[in-house]
């Protein structure tokens, strides 16, 4: 309609249908692009209310859509790309904010996750004491192979610290394979490192020779919805 949007689409663009512009010639002709990423991984962020799960995914916010978005609609998940070991890895990151009551986070979130970030607030004892309950959820629903990372958040509030680093290290050391670090989403301290570390751990467990497509098919679902289990193909990749 708007002439400003007229762009040359010559090859085969003879009669793009007007009634259904979305199915115009250009989109019909599109070829499947080369696989854009080498690996695709689902990561979930869990933890008690107010520990800063969401802010771990954010760099900065100000008075724009984000504010509106948070109070009304909210962010469901994000796709993020990291480069590691010469591979391009797409992360699908689910933040479970707003569903903190332990049992309200359905198993669908956990099932496909290759990495689980468990967050507590270093200034709030109760969020640390909740950790065993979160671990129960992980044990119950998550793949045994999922990488676990414990994050003590709000390092910027050091003066209000209640949970010592040693306490958390002790907790993490009792769970096999659990890593631990402290971070500040507010200062963006350690935040990128958290995800890179986690992804690196996931990659090192992975049989890298498996074609990425096969791999991705087994761990992805297009639109996992909390209430309805996502349409995951049979879990044939739960290897060894």
């Amino acid at each position: 309609m708007d002439p400003r949007y007229e762009v040359p689409r010559r090859a085969g663009a003879g009669g793009s249908s007007n009634s259904s512009p979305a199915l115009g010639a250009s989109s019909r002709r599109r070829k499947i692009p080369p696989r854009p990423a080498d690996f695709k991984l689902q990561i979930i962020i869990i933890g008690s209310r107010g520990v800063g799960k969401t802010s771990l995914m954010e760099r900065f916010t100000d008075d724009t859509f984000c504010e509106a978005c948070k109070s009304t609609v909210g962010v469901d998940f994000k796709i993020k790309t990291v480069d590691l070991r010469g591979k391009k890895i797409r992360l699908q990151i689910w933040d479970t904010a707003g569903q903190e009551r332990f049992n309200s986070i359905t198993s669908a979130y956990y099932r496909g996750a290759k990495g689980i970030v468990l967050v507590y607030d270093i200034t709030k004892q109760e969020t640390f004491e909740d950790l065993p309950k979160w671990m129960k959820m992980i044990d119950k629903y998550a793949s045994e192979e999922a990488e676990l990372l414990l994050v003590g958040n709000k390092l910027d509030c050091e003066t209000d610290r209640i949970v010592t680093k040693q306490q958390a290290e002790r907790f993490a050391s009792r769970i096999s394979g659990m890593r631990f670090c402290e971070a500040s989403a507010k200062d963006n301290f350690n935040v990128d490192e958290i995800f890179l570390k986690l992804v690196d751990d996931i990659l090192s467990k992975m049989p890298l020779e498996i074609p990425s497509r096969e791999l991705s098919n087994s761990i992805l679902s297009l639109q996992p919805e909390p209430e309805v289990p996502p349409e995951l193909p049979p879990p044939r990749m739960r290897c060894c």
């Binding site: 979305a22 859509f65 984000c66 796709i79």
Partner: protein, 134 residues
Amino acid sequence: MDKDEHSVDPEGSSADRSGLVSEDGKNTKSVLCQRCGSKVLCPGMAVFSEKELFLPSMKKKRALSTSEGPMDGDNLTAHWLVDDMYTFENVGFTNDVGRIKYLICADCEIGPIGWHCLDDKKSFYVAVERVNHA
């Protein structure tokens, strides 16, 4: 090499846009967040597509709130279309608004920059007007 493309649209208001679309209808440049520069799409990964979609305003608070009067926003026609969400380098999805999920910047969360309908799981639109190209 670009001679051909040039001759198609030597002048006029669409000149700037034609430089964004390749011969085969794909994005010649990276698609970036207008605010923070976060990369949304790599070159050549999306197809230019025309479809009239309503996107709530990027600026107004409570633009998505349906309770108070008509939503503030734009009907946008020019989009980058991808058929798999994993084609994106970085992007965020809002919770459902009806059958729609809006796309936002994964880093600074500005948006909506795009549109996805749950009834069509193979179509993810990013509004050309709401992103930068470089």
